[in-house]
């Protein structure tokens, strides 16, 4: 809450106007914190605030109740202006039990507010959370404003008219918390009430209990005089248009549907359930009326195999997964490189190696998708940068795959997948057209024979071979993973032909650089010495850090890559025009390695592998340090 103005409200209480706030809802993984956060987000989106969200939940579906391992949290940043991240630290922590408090209080800066469910702070719960004394009484929370609300008992009281058993009624306490926070931040309540009816309509008791708990929370805020203030956050100014709040996985799924519609090529998804990618499978499975075929395969390998088989038959073949699935799919990606068929491999990255951190974000698969195949097997790579950008990135990745007849990797990650932001819904006419030409049938000659079809003949400009699908008379041909003779596509072990084919496949992928936008550099004054270079989900934090550095009177340039293979044609020129390139990435410096190798530039990584996104301050700090180093008197090493 950076800037504040105050005015008395009609009830005599003060209404503060703030420009932004970061709220974190935390509770047991069974407490419904994701629903609570999601609903608060939706209320805010409809109210017109800009926002960004960060769900954070354990890999276990139900870790032991009341323990630190079972804490699930949802952070939402809402503001009256354009924001780029879910916030470095919360201003308000809603803690439904001692474990939620203990797991999150460390992130709360001094002066922050804690709203806690005092009913949950009994001796046993404190012990389970690892507290040896009650933090409410031992002074450990003295630097915060603590609001104790007996949420469980107030919820039980509110739900009495429903006749629900106390055990069931208690489950509505997250709606009590939601109601309370909705009052505190002047959120519209009809949106949530409508949603409760829609979501739980099959069970009238649940609808009634949740609605009563929600209203009770709202009214408690209004009447209990626990809070001296309530807060207003004005709507943000957005470009004119119709908006929706969208997560990365939904945007990506819709982008795939759009790509299929725009190219008139049917969509086929072969996929195996895996966190955090499964929601794309779920979403696409709903859209059968678009002709979308989804196959939940027996394993990751079959998922991509089926997608490649469908591609051979003329479909836009897609497989969705996360890192462990990429390991298994690599073999088939190599086959797709050799077959030169369109194929989209979507990698929603998570912490690795191995099973790693299934529900936490990381950007550590970049080198894997670049190089994780035997032989010289180049594959284009596209990376989404924000949740809503997943829509565009999916269309772009599909465009490249279809036009160049190549497998394409589309990278997203756990943060983009589950995070959300308002998205201006594009008009269908604004979307790029994707034209796909299938090879036409070849008529038979006078002798009843067609000219022999040459499946590896290439388009001169794109170097793509033709897409000759079964069912087309005169194009019968055989393809496979064995090396092909250039043009004819026959099996060939000829050494010179192999070298030619290796170069052709590399040239085809490298040539895509002519068909993608140049990388744009944001350097408003043109005098920056340091460039912040990023890719993927670090966009928001990097951009926000650049703005902060500039607000502090310093200069920094900023550029973000969507295309990672090939790089935009001007990238080398851009990088060499700065004295220092700082690359924040959620890995140990994978893009840094690539740009150093390709362009011999002094690029230095800013790494973070904690399963959480960068904080703006961390990147700001790295820029200031780089500037200080460049400005320090030279010759330090010689003195």
């Amino acid at each position: 809450m950076t800037s504040t103005t105050e005015s008395p409200s009609g009830t005599g209480r003060i209404v503060k106007t703030v420009d932004r706030v970061v709220i974190r809802f935390a509770g047991d993984s069974g407490d419904g914190m994701q629903v609570t956060g999601d609903r608060f987000t939706n209320e805010s989106a409809i109210f017109g605030n800009d926002l960004s969200t960060l769900p954070n939940f354990p890999a276990e579906i139900r870790a032991p109740a009341g323990t630190l391992a079972g804490v699930s949290a949802f952070q939402v940043h809402i503001s009256d202006h354009d924001i780029l991240t879910p916030g470095d630290a919360p201003n308000v922590l809603v803690a439904m039990n001692p474990a939620a408090l203990r797991a999150n209080v460390g992130d709360l800066p001094a002066g922050g507010s804690i709203v806690l469910n005092s009913d949950a702070f009994d001796e046993r719960a404190l012990e389970k959370a690892g507290y040896s004394s009650d933090p409410r009484r031992d002074g450990s929370l003295s630097s915060f404003k603590v609001y104790e609300v007996p949420m469980t008992s107030l919820t039980l009281e509110a739900c009495k008219p429903t006749g629900a058993k106390p055990r069931d009624a208690e489950r509505s306490k997250n709606f009590f918390a939601l109601g309370l926070l909705s009052w505190l931040y002047h959120r519209p309540i009809d949106v949530t009430i409508g949603w409760i009816v829609e979501r739980y309509g099959k069970s009238p008791v649940v609808v009634e209990a949740n609605t009563l708990a929600f209203k009770a929370g709202y009214h408690f805020g209004e009447t209990a005089e626990l809070f001296d203030f309530s807060y207003e956050i004005a709507p943000a100014e957005h470009e004119k248009g119709t908006y929706t709040n969208i997560t990365g996985n939904t945007a990506l799924a819709w982008g795939l549907v759009a790509a299929a519609q725009l190219s008139s090529v049917p969509l086929f998804l072969g996929s195996y359930p895996i966190t955090p990618a499964s929601d794309i499978l779920h979403e696409l499975s709903k859209h059968k009326n678009f002709g979308v075929r989804t196959l939940q395969a027996e394993d990751e390998i079959a998922g991509i195999g089926a997608a490649l088989g469908a591609a051979f038959g003329g479909a836009l073949g897609v497989t969705t997964t996360s890192g462990p699935g990429i390991d298994l799919k690599s073999e088939t990606v190599g086959l797709a490189v050799s077959l030169e068929l369109p194929l989209l491999i979507v990698d929603i990255q998570r912490g690795g190696p191995s099973t790693g951190l299934p529900t936490k974000t990381e950007q550590s698969d970049l080198l894997h998708v670049m190089f994780g195949r035997h032989g010289e097997a180049p594959v284009p790579v596209v990376a989404a940068k924000t949740p809503s950008h997943c829509f565009e990135a999916a269309i772009e990745a599909a465009r490249i795959a279809l036009k160049y007849r190549t497998p394409v990797y589309l990278l997203s990650d756990g943060y983009l997948a589950n995070g959300s932001e308002p998205w201006r819904i594009p008009a269908v006419e604004e979307l790029p057209k994707i034209s796909v030409d299938f090879a036409p049938a070849r008529p038979e000659g006078a002798d009843g024979k067609a000219e022999p079809f040459r499946p590896y003949e290439r388009d001169r400009e794109t170097l793509a071979r033709s897409w000759a699908v079964p069912g087309t008379p005169g194009l019968e041909h055989r393809i496979g993973g064995l090396e092909k003779q250039d043009v004819t596509g026959e099996v060939s072990y000829d050494p010179e032909n192999h070298e030619r084919m290796v170069h052709l496949r590399a040239a085809k992928v490298a040539g895509i650089a002519k068909d993608i936008p140049l990388v744009e550099v944001d350097d408003p004054e043109g005098g920056a010495r340091v460039l912040l270079l990023g890719w993927g989900s670090t966009y928001g934090a990097i951009r926000a850090a650049a703005l902060r550095v500039r607000a502090g009177g310093r200069q920094v340039a900023q550029a973000h890559l969507v295309h990672l293979n090939p790089f935009p044609a001007n990238l080398g020129e851009v990088l060499t025009s700065y004295e220092r390139v700082v690359v924040p990435e959620a890995n140990l410096g994978q893009l840094t390695k690539l740009v150093r190798a390709d362009f011999l530039v002094d690029a230095r990584p800013l790494t973070k592998v904690q399963g959480t996104p960068f904080r703006v301050a961390e990147i700001e700090q790295a820029v200031l340090e780089a500037l200080a180093e460049l400005e320090a008197p030279s010759g330090g090493e010689d003195s």
Binding site: A45, W254, Q261, G305, G314, P473
Partner: protein
């Protein structure tokens, strides 16, 4: 094009211009010939026919067919064919595989293609050995097999491909062998006509690394007494003038008897259409290996909705319920607000 009559073709039309590169004397040659000679009779078009294979000697098969074909990666052909079959129900899709490809590295894909009842015809060339990698034992090799990788004899119990397929809920399972073109063609024809996944095990001789593995059953001299033909609706009999037959005891176990001793009425009547796969399974266990009298023919052929047709039905239903896909409506399907 589909409204026109299927053009008359001969074997030549179905053979590609590639030199066949199997070892001279390999059983694969006779299987290839059987298929190329059969296809002109199946009423199918070359452009609608696809052969998909994995890796191994058998997997070279698509190169020799003048149809669409894909020589893919080891074990994955059923998965690739599944994607193709589901998205292109108009095609005739054959998967050509071997015992290593289908039952070892690709075992998972095989069983799932069968249980899903994907509309594909799977030919499993079983030679009980790894040929392309020069002679290691395979998942169908008999216990104690001495090979380069098992100098002291193999330890693993082999798979029985027919039993495995039946256990995987296959709706069509047959067995044939490379010494009898007419029988192969009959089995291929039946498998092709079957709507859903069809598996045909073909006993195939690898004359270089495992020569004569099936001779006791398929050899011309011994065949009459060792090969049990399965004919739907008929008592199961074999041997010279059908002197031997198959009976079932009250435990459901099958055994071979002299017909004279029990009378024909005591023999098991073969029923490939039985919903319960018990009889087919018992028949698949009758011989412990190709050194005992072995049933040949269709073990099971039952009707069950195929995967692709069911998916098509879901697509159609979704379209009629929700109307055809409208992209603008999809993008606005969440909660929206206007600025």
């Amino acid at each position: 094009m589909t409204d026109l009559a299927v053009p008359v073709t001969t074997r030549k039309d179905w053979a590609s211009d590639q030199d066949v590169r199997w070892c001279p004397g390999c059983g694969d040659y006779s299987i290839l010939a059987a298929m190329q000679l059969l296809l002109p009779d199946l009423g199918v078009r070359r452009e609608n026919t696809v052969f998909v294979s994995g890796i191994g000697c058998a997997a070279r098969f698509p190169y020799y067919m003048n149809t669409y074909g894909m020589h893919s990666i080891h074990g994955r052909a059923p998965a690739i064919a599944t994607g193709l079959a589901v998205s292109r129900p108009d095609l005739d899709i054959f998967v050509v595989s071997g015992d290593g490809d289908a039952l070892s590295i690709g075992g998972n894909h095989l069983i799932h293609a069968l249980r899903r009842n994907v509309n594909i015809t799977i030919l499993l060339f079983n030679n009980q050995i790894y040929g392309l990698t020069k002679g290691q034992y395979s998942p169908t090799s008999e216990v104690g097999k001495v090979t380069k990788s098992t100098p002291f004899g193999s330890l693993d119990t082999p798979f029985n491909p027919v039993s495995l397929a039946l256990g995987a809920e296959a709706s069509f399972v047959a067995r044939t062998h490379d010494m009898d073109r007419k029988h192969m063609q009959e089995m291929f024809r039946r498998a092709h006509e079957h709507k859903g996944a069809a598996l045909v095990e073909v006993y195939q001789n690898c004359n270089v690394f495992n020569d004569g593995a099936f001779d006791q059953v398929t050899g011309r001299a011994t065949r009459e007494e060792m090969l049990i033909p399965l004919e739907h609706g008929k008592p199961i009999r074999f041997g010279a003038e059908g002197h031997k037959g198959v009976v079932m005891n009250d435990q459901g176990q099958l055994s071979i008897v002299e017909v004279e001793g029990v009378g024909e009425d005591a023999l098991v009547i073969h029923d490939e259409r039985r919903a319960d796969p018990g009889l087919a399974f018992a028949l698949s266990r009758l011989a412990l290996g190709p050194h005992e009298p072995t049933p040949m023919g269709v073990f099971r052929a039952v009707e069950r909705p195929d995967y692709g047709s069911q998916m098509d039905a879901q697509l159609l239903e979704a379209s009629s319920r929700k109307g055809p896909g409208d992209l603008a409506a999809l993008l606005s399907s969440g909660t929206t607000w206007t600025v």
